[in-house]
Symmetry: C2
Subunit: 141 residues, 2 copies
DNA sequence: ATATTTGCAAATAATTTGCAGTCGA
DNA sequence: TCGACTGCAAATTATTTGCAAATAT
């Protein structure tokens, strides 16, 4: 997605496409990691020296309210963001701390006890060890 | 589970069954809500006037490390605890904020992309509106 | 008596808020 | 110009840490 389409993406959701907002959305869409506020700020302040964390917080809340990003809370004390709002699961490796996306057939899940509930969002979080860490017992973060 | 079996439950997991620890575990097992630190503290300090939040934090971390409780992070900025460590899902109503447990056939879930990964914990969080809130459009928190 | 548990207060960390300055149509 | 956007600093909230006092074996 280029700058123009990001801009329209925001406009379509009633968000004025300011420079900072476009950059933050661009970052979220390009980077496949699931950054937290600090990572977004530290990375983008290189391009936008005047950027403040407040703006990052404001912008992410705005995006979240508009449904443009998903908040990932796979671990306590960590709020992470994902611009891929399609249904998919997240896996966090307890060793290397990396977060992986995975596909899941959510439709097939049989749920008992939520009859007549309106489910708006489904989050699937798994934790464990990723294949890399299992194999080379690697120690590089 | 009575006091004695709670005590053995702790002992079996190499946790010395102090008074505060038994009370906290008892609270978690009895209360079906999924309390956060503050709720646990506020409730138990009535029985144990000398209780401090530090102890609640210490104890819950201890329980968590031993696998006796599960940390629920269904919403950012909220750490909640669940003494039911069997596999089940959590649903949070966005209106009344209540957290419901539900049963789910986790085995049947088809996952693509985690081949050769070792999955240690599976968490399923749904959000939306519960049947009560849909029906009486109730406003009592 | 000796090790563990507890509790206070201070430290740290993440996030929110108030408000003033800045930018763009 | 006007309203929206931004950024600093202060405030708030959750959690952790250091250490001394209390407790238990």
């Amino acid at each position: 997605m280029d700058k123009n389409s990001i801009s329209s993406h925001l406009t379509e959701n009633n968000i004025k496409p300011s420079y900072a907002r476009i950059k933050i959305m661009e970052y979220l869409l390009h980077k496949k990691n699931h950054p937290n506020v600090d990572e977004i700020y530290t990375e983008l302040v290189k391009d936008i020296p005047t950027l403040s964390k407040t703006t990052v917080y404001n912008t992410l809340n705005l995006f979240n309210d508009a449904g443009l990003v998903k908040v990932i809370t796979i671990e306590e004390n960590e709020v992470r963001f994902d611009a891929d709002t399609s249904e998919h699961g997240h896996f966090k490796c307890e060793k290397c701390k990396k977060i992986y996306d995975f596909n899941i057939e959510i439709e097939g899940i049989k749920v008992i006890g939520l009859e007549n509930f309106k489910i708006r969002q489904k989050d699937i979080f798994f934790k464990g060890l990723c294949a890399k860490c299992i194999n080379h017992i690697n120690s590089d973060n």
